[in-house]
Subunit: 257 residues, 2 copies
């Protein structure tokens, strides 16, 4: 296959262009096509769908993987996707992959996650997009299983018909020595962060605060990403971006506003 015929795969993440997870993903993607990497210059976890409006972006070429054109971008993961598609790339990507995130992004975390927001931005552009996350926050986490899972899903994504305006939220259990049980297509499980505001004082006696929290499951379903991951399956949730609560339109019409 000549270079021109190889699919273009855009790689990004939210942990930064030199994270182990994104390098693993870029290496895996290279097996299938030409890879363009545009990733944040510094960690951008929890940035959700944030974009940079009032500040300019610094974008520079970086040399992190042989054969992979790579840029670091001072903006958010969504800025990286927009910059890649609308400026840095000379052709439209055939696939966007984001991650592999150092840490979980199942359930409601799809809203907070920079990794997944990059994939959602790809879906908005109607580019088949996949976010990958490993349930291990360690910067030296073992991405062995994740690379195998990513390779399998990327192969399918390039060969099957990918539904329009959709992306996938893929979470991979942390290795516990046991073989992964398989891959399950799931719905987004219901859960919430139970937060607390922790007060501290600086050496000058001025207060400052940390937001800390614990994830609380609120879903007993066996068709959720929460259930799949607990049972050592890879979870794959198809994601769309219509936030309308269609079922409640009649309720609010009855309010007679």
């Amino acid at each position: 296959m000549s270079t021109a015929e190889r699919p273009l795969i855009l790689v990004t993440n939210d942990d930064g262009y030199d994270a182990k997870g994104v390098l693993t993903l870029a290496r895996t993607a290279s097996k299938f096509g030409d890879v363009l990497m545009v990733a944040p210059s510094k960690p951008q976890s929890g940035m959700g769908h944030a974009i940079t409006i009032h500040d300019p972006l610094k974008i520079r070429k970086v040399d992190v993987l042989e054969g992979v054109t790579s840029y670091s971008c001072s903006g958010t993961p969504v800025d990286c996707v927009k910059s890649a598609i609308h400026g840095l790339s000379d052709r439209r990507p055939d696939l966007l992959v984001s991650g592999i995130n150092h840490g979980a992004n199942f359930s409601i975390n799809v809203l907070y996650s920079g990794t997944m927001s990059a994939a959602v931005e790809g879906a908005l552009e109607n580019i088949p997009s996949i976010g990958f996350s490993l349930l291990d926050y360690d910067q030296n986490a073992d991405f062995g299983d994740s690379a195998i899972v990513a390779e399998r899903i990327i192969a399918k994504a390039l060969n099957e018909k990918f539904p329009e305006f959709t992306c996938l939220n893929v979470n991979i259990p942390r290795s516990n020595g046991e073989k992964l049980k398989g891959i399950r297509i799931c719905r987004q499980g219901i859960g919430i962060w139970e937060d607390r505001l922790v007060k501290r004082e600086d050496p000058m006696g001025h207060p400052y605060y940390w937001l800390a929290g614990d994830f609380k499951e609120m879903d007993k379903g066996q068709d959720t990403d929460i259930w799949a991951l607990k049972n050592h399956y890879v979870s794959v949730v198809p994601i769309q971006f219509d936030m309308t609560a269609h079922q409640h339109i009649p309720t609010f019409n009855n309010w007679e506003l």
Copy 2:
């Protein structure tokens, strides 16, 4: 009604605690209950559902409106909501209102908007929540119509049964001298930002970039927020946070991953 019986209304926004829009909203909310305002210390437009993970927050009492307990917070709009509910407030808010934003948040902007992400965070906490946005970016915009609309919707929200885990995305047309035609319950219209990456050079000859874009409608429906606003109606979209593309679960099951 004694003070203890008055509902507690949490007010936030993404333009900052001293913006004309949030002061208008806090004043309107004061007619219905005790108001707690926790809003960003500086503009946080386009912050989406971002949260602050790796940095502490500075939170301080500010005196902006008589009778309203007010805090400025160095974090994002979602940080403001979390800080209010899980630390600054001694009781659970009965209602959350966000805005009134200086600028539009209809269609896909619900994802990028700090104003709406604050309302979505309220919905996650199962607090009836409403985001208000005026289609006028001017910091001295005329919030006269918006205050009337907010008063009407807040009154209904406090007196009717508000569906669980839901919020409202309210957009108000910019005044054009014409009377508003009314309030319509809508679905989120389909549209996208057509972006471009604009290159500049600093005085030292180093490149930097701006992301700029124009909103493009992709929806001809007359039941959308896009249609309502164009026709000088207030748009009200009920919003939920299940991002699952339920209709595509069978498709991906057929991939046999």
